[in-house]
């Protein structure tokens, strides 16, 4: 692996996705009979949990059952969020998947229940066909101008030339659409549809005129006739919106009243009721189909007792999505009360949830996960360094070990090595302290820190030690 410095321009063309904590997960890694493969689609171990999630996928796909709750319980770093991400991938882009963190609902902008209601409504999709204005044609040329100083905030501008068999038009492009064009990798001689209102790009295929351009073509390359007539036309397009999006469209106060409404981000319950009626009407007429999705609440123990009782109630609605919660707590206080409960979740809610437990990983699984992460972060490790990293992982934590991957690769780059070796890893291990060593450090030097409450306790301890020493002295 070489380490060439990638210039901004090159990066721009391919648009590399940023690497996140769970970006290596591409699914649940199950086969058709819902059995978990040892390592597949970025998932390792956790076989029973994965199998259970597979059943949840089936439940969501059928979309018949409303308001089921699932709780993922397990120690930190055992793959709860990874399982949820895998589920999202397995469901595909058709089924809505909304992921929030438990603490997200404590916002000053809106009440807790409003935030939860919005999350619920975001996870229900309504597929509806609507006549929209589109521009459909063959791409003649895309021209993108970048501002001279790359770091500047100035927007990219560009021009797109589209044609039909009868006409040709040049369009000015906005920054957002340029991003979309690059993401979709639109090229000259592609036949595309641009939605005028949303800027959504649909690639219909390659122009028939481009048949002879290359000898080799991908199997999925489709050739399409260049459209005729006008570029701009009205077309019946089927798209999926969430209930929340429809709420927002309808809740905008009209005219001068908007000045007084104040944008608190809250949606009136009357608007919601009206939308529910409207959607039910569409559904009966066969104009729309409902796709109940999945709502994932991470760190669910951060919710307080009011939220839990709201959840209990909300799950009873027949429009409710499948709710997945994750918690890494044991038996602990329910937020907002003095009662203790398993996972910090009240018993009445726990009673109606299916609980999936995740177990700590074995050594082989850990080394496999680290290997996948190294690949994802594009870092090569020598065999020895790999074993050392696994060892660090077992003594500290999986998250800490993953943090070391990129850090150590940067150290290795500095000594112009292509692979990370033991010395790089050692250096990083010394540079960045893990939780255990940090606590030890605090214990050792606590007198030098401010406001240390342990002082008195320690003073007593010191005395005790001193007396011990004395007694030892005497015994000597």
């Amino acid at each position: 692996m070489s380490i060439p410095k990638i210039t901004q321009e090159v990066k721009d063309i391919t648009r590399i996705e940023r690497i996140g904590a769970h970006s290596h997960i591409r699914g649940l890694g199950l086969d058709d009979s819902l059995t978990a493969r040892a390592s597949s689609q970025g998932m390792v171990g956790q076989r029973t949990a994965r199998k259970s999630m597979g059943i949840v996928v089936h439940m969501a796909r059928e979309g018949k059952i409303a308001g089921r709750a699932v709780l993922l319980a397990g120690p930190p770093g055992s793959g709860k969020t990874a399982l949820a991400m895998g589920l999202a991938q397995a469901l595909g882009s058709e089924t809505p998947f909304v992921s929030i963190a438990g603490s997200e609902i404590f916002s000053l902008e809106m009440s807790k229940t409003e935030a939860l209601t919005q999350a619920f409504r975001k996870s229900i999709g309504v597929q509806i066909s609507e006549e929209t204005e589109v521009v459909e044609g063959e791409v003649v040329e895309i021209q993108i101008d970048r501002p001279l100083d790359k770091g500047a905030a100035g927007a990219k501008t560009g021009k797109l030339t589209l044609k039909t068999t009868d006409m040709e038009t040049v369009y000015d492009l906005g920054a957002k659409l340029i991003d979309n064009l690059q993401k979709e990798k639109v090229q000259s001689k592609d036949i595309i549809t641009l939605d005028k209102a949303t800027g959504k790009i649909t690639k219909l295929g390659r122009s028939l005129g481009a048949t002879g351009d290359f000898d080799a073509m991908g199997a999925s390359t489709r050739f399409v006739q260049t459209p005729q007539g006008e570029l701009q036309k009205r077309k019946e397009v089927s798209h999926t919106l969430s209930l929340h999006e429809i709420d927002v469209i309808n809740s905008r106060s009209q005219g001068f009243l908007a000045l007084f409404a104040g944008d608190t981000g809250e949606i009136k319950s009357e608007v919601r009721e009206q939308i529910d009626l409207k959607v039910a009407g569409w559904r009966e007429e066969g104009k729309a189909t409902i796709h109940p999705g999945v709502l994932f609440i991470d760190e669910v123990h951060m919710l307080d007792i009011e939220c839990f009782s709201f959840l209990n109630r909300a799950l009873e609605s027949d429009m409710a999505p499948i709710l997945i919660m994750a918690s890494n707590r044991g038996i602990t206080r329910i937020r907002g009360t003095d009662y203790q409960a398993p996972h910090g979740v009240p018993l009445d809610l726990l009673d109606r949830t299916l609980i999936i437990a995740t177990e700590p990983y074995s050594d082989e699984e850990i080394s496999k996960i680290l290997e996948i992460r190294c690949e994802e972060e594009d870092v090569a490790f020598t065999e020895k360094a790999k074993t050392l990293l696994t060892k660090i992982c077992t003594t500290t934590s999986l998250r800490y070990a993953i943090q070391l991957i990129t850090a150590s690769s940067l150290v290795a780059q500095k000594r112009k090595a292509y692979e990370v070796d033991m010395i790089d890893l050692k250096k990083v291990y010394e540079l960045f302290v893990d939780v255990k060593r940090s606590t030890q450090f605090l214990k050792d030097y606590q007198n030098e820190f401010m406001y240390n409450t342990q002082e008195e306790v320690d003073a007593q301890e010191d005395e005790a030690v001193a007396t011990d020493n004395k007694s030892m002295d005497t015994t000597e």
């Binding site: 369009y171 000015d172 659409l177 006008e230 469209i249 009209q254």
Partner: protein, 199 residues
């Protein structure tokens, strides 16, 4: 005025104001579609007619211009995309006895353009022999009157890079518009912003 308030109103109902030297007339129809017509205060010439129809998902739709056009500069930060200003632009601006369209930015020779009436689809079609421009124009007024287009009545010319297309208004429409103009003179519109009655 919200839609609920207007439930007991008789459709279509109209309100009007005078602003910026234009008399603006707003009409709401029974299906909640809205029409705004803007007339020059001095000569009562119709400058703009635009429609806004209710959308399926709710919320306010976009204004559609039937006569006149809106000048809206393209902002690359917020807007998605828009035809570049170098492209031909169609604007309908009628005279008192004919429909008229002006297509600006027509940079080719006159013989490149070809303007015809498509009898089958009841529309005017502009073609170019070099396949650079194509446009189908429909006349909503003729559709509303249920009148047929006659190819022989169409006139067009090309000068100063502008294509001017005219088609005579049928006598029935001219008569109708004269009545409307008379009503307009009677219509008592106030200068400036209107106060809502409930305020």
């Amino acid at each position: 005025m919200t839609k609920e308030d207007s439930a007991d109103k008789k459709y279509p109902y109209t309100s009007s104001i005078v602003k910026d030297g234009r008399k603006k007339v707003h009409t709401t129809f029974e299906d909640q579609s809205e029409m705004v017509e803007e007339f020059d205060v001095n000569n009562n010439k119709l400058l703009v007619r635009k429609w806004r129809r209710p959308t399926k998902l709710g919320g306010e739709g976009e204004w559609e211009f039937e006569i006149g056009a809106e000048v809206k500069p393209f902002n690359p930060m917020n807007d998605l995309f828009a035809p570049s200003t170098d492209n031909p632009v169609v604007v309908r601006s009628d005279t008192s006895d004919s429909f008229q369209w002006r297509i600006r930015n027509c940079f080719f020779d006159k013989n490149v353009y070809q303007v015809t009436v498509d009898v089958e689809n009841q529309s005017i079609v502009i073609r170019t022999s070099n396949k650079k421009y194509y446009k189908v124009i429909q006349i909503p007024d003729m559709i509303r009157l249920k009148q047929q287009l006659i190819p022989q009545s169409l006139q067009w010319s090309h000068s100063n890079n502008t294509l001017i297309i005219s088609y005579p208004k049928p006598p029935a429409l001219v008569q109708q518009e004269r009545v409307k103009e008379h009503q307009l003179r009677q219509l008592n519109s106030k200068e400036g912003d209107v106060q809502c009655p409930q305020q």
